[in-house]
Amino acid sequence: MELLIKNGSVYDPSNGINGDKADISIKDGKIVDKVSSKATVIDAGGRLVMAGGVDAHSHIAGAKVNVGRIMRPEDTRSGIKPRTKLTRPTTGYTVPNVYAMGYRYAQMGYTTVFEAAQAIMKARHTHEELEEIPIIDKGALTLFGSNWPTMDFVREKNMDKLAAYISWGLLASRGFGVKVVNPGGGEMWGFGKNVTSLDDVVPNFDVTPREIIVSLMKANEMLGLPHSVHLHCNNLGKPGNYKTTLASMELADQVKASRDRQVLHVTHLLFNSMGGTNWGDFESKADEVANYLNNHDNVTGDMGQMIFGSATTMTADGPVQYANAKLMHAKWANGDVELEDASGVVPLYYIKQVSVYAIMWATGLELGLLTKDPYKMLLTTDHPNGGPFVNYSEVIALLMSNKKRQEEIKTVHEAVHSKTRLPGIERELDFSEIAIMTRAGTAKVLGLLDTKGHLGVGADADVSIYDIKPDQIDPSVEHAKIKSAFSSAAYTIKGGQVVVKDGQITATPMGRTYWVDARVPEQHTNEMMKDIVKKFKNYYSIQLANYMVQDAYLTHPKVVKAGAIPVEVR
């Protein structure tokens, strides 16, 4: 199967191609040097060509996504499309059904998406859903931040056991990386409490969030995992939390990266860049956070941009969801994952005329615009916390057009002028920078830049073509065209197969599920397993034998190998 994409205006920033006219040759699902004359030709006709989109943080599958579906029957009433000969029925907006996840991402030109949080104990559910999401490649980050074994090994300062636990946890959950949510807070929420700073001691475990984060970063680098620690900071969603965020970022200085990437990825920074002391004097501190990123190369972040309208917030951060539900008189679902984590789901409606929401909306855009290097600030909406992923085109248009931003600013609460810097920011991102924030940067942060996020020889043949001619459009003025083009790809090619043409699904191949097989010395695993067996005997409600995700759950696995290497500590 050969394919040749001709006359594209190609943006492939990690290979130094910025809008050059170039042909892309595809053979057997990979990008190659050249193809024979028998290849099927797609004439891009000068239109925008990028690698397939990569999303590093989106809640697309698993227990809490499903809780969102169950508690929001009203959401299911939107986005309804009956089945066709090719596609299965779709429903929902903020919490779409599994098929819609795959179709809608592919229709936007995205081909790889990572679920941002799965508890090991709930991983079977995650994989059952991932197996039903068509077209896109996917994977899931595994929660380690409040797990009892993690905190035990951190307290014992036993890095070998901690690394062995991560290795085993990734195997047990078929996970891709280490996700840390409100470290320590998940455990304390079991007692109706929360941690409020990096130095609060978690009762019964005698560890602090600071120790948990640093130890997990060290273990992550010992294992040489493709992705770094992926942190959802303490104090998320509280005014004044930017100080906690900055202090958390500083912890990255204590650890050296084992690969060419960051040592810490701080996610949905919008919710962690809050100034003020309460909701009355609440303001954006995106400039401080962006400034830190501009001066440090070991930390990356993503926006978590807010979209006005309906959202379903879902997170392993149980206490913040209780606060949200009380504050907004909203529906609330609470979950407890035994020895591992808490969770909460709360539907919210972001209104333009509410000052807090207007400031948060501006904060996300400030983060995108004030961070100079787009490799350090990925484009996300923390789907569906900030808003559904189908709105990425709106975010792209806002980042590319100051005119659109000024038009929007006129329609939102006036606090956006006094509490944020957004009205005075004139920067407009170009296609290269967008390609980095949605493709090359994401792939680099995930440690997948060898095969994803670029169009060089050897990369996966994931390509998207958008219906705009970069040399004939002024994104600043014609932002409506930008938005419409990025919301519906002219072509999406996944693994060398055309899956979307003119915004319509044309094929529904099964994507692969990425997971990391990180090896550690056998005696470390044996030592660690003694503790785990004890935990199952004394505390877990299920047997160890029923805990592991078996191979049968992953019909199209893509295993990334990693393994213990000596860690350098500065």
Partner: protein
């Protein structure tokens, strides 16, 4: 003025959904055009013409369109859904979701209506001369706002959960209602002529007036003394105190 007369051509025994029966959809259309509009009976897609006889007089925009429905529509759902103007007169009983999401115009029913009449209604008027089912003027499953505006009048009785999650508008039930009228209310006004039970639970805003007896009172309201409304003296309660509500409950 456009007058459209609709009659079932045969007895409809299984659930039928015809959201296309609405002045907005019929306005300016000929008999043939109306007959070819979509209708669902059970899991089968059909047309209005296959289920009903249609007679059209004149042609006018939605505001000047009157639909007269003669016969038994007790298995026909979603009549007048989302209508913005015009008049629908139904000389018979109807099934669920009558006038759901309507924002203008008027529907008048001679018979009884089933559950969810006036669901999430935004404006206009709904007059029911018989009885209403459950969830009159309520929000559908999961919805945080039911009725937001307009007026519903029921001459007979209504069943449970009248105006659940109501955020605005007015519901008048001349007869009795079932349990929990005004459940989780966040605005609007409910007037009950007869008896009810456990009114206003979880209400944070809005007004409920009960002229009959209240069989059981939720212990979440604070008695504020007597107050006259439109010349009638009621006991005035505020609540629901559990949700820190500012709802008003007047009981004779």
């Amino acid at each position: 003025m456009q007058i459209v007369t609709i009659k079932p051509t045969k007895e409809i025994k299984i659930s039928t959904e015809v959201e296309n029966i609405s002045p907005d959809k019929f306005a300016g259309k000929t008999e043939q055009e109306i007959k070819s509009l979509e209708a669902w009976i059970g899991n089968q897609k059909m047309t209005i013409g296959e289920l009903f006889s249609v007679k059209v007089e004149g042609s006018a925009p939605a505001a000047d369109t009157k639909i007269v429905m003669e016969g038994d529509f007790s298995r026909v759902k979603r009549i007048g859904e989302g209508m913005t103007a015009g008049l629908v007169i139904i000389n018979g009983n109807v099934d669920m979701h009558l006038g759901a999401k309507m924002s203008g115009g008027k529907i008048s029913v001679k018979g009884n209506v089933d559950s969810w009449a006036g669901r999430e209604m935004k404006g206009g008027e709904l007059i029911i001369e018989g009885n209403a089912g459950y969830y009159l003027g309520a929000g559908y499953r999961g919805e945080s706002c039911g009725m937001r505006g307009g007026k519903i009048t029921v001459m007979g009785n209504a069943l449970d959960f009248v105006g659940e999650h109501m955020c605005g508008g007015e519901i008048i039930v001349n007869g009795n209602t079932g349990i929990l009228p005004g459940l989780s209310n966040n605005g609007g006004k409910i007037v009950i002529g007869g008896n009810t039970s456990r009114p206003g639970s979880e209400m944070s805003k809005g007004t409920i007036i009960v002229n009959g007896t209240v069989d059981e009172m939720m212990p979440v309201f604070k008695l504020e003394g007597n107050e006259a409304v439109d010349g009638v003296t009621y006991k005035k309660y505020t609540g629901d105190v559990i949700v820190n509500g500012k709802g008003l409950l007047y009981i004779k």
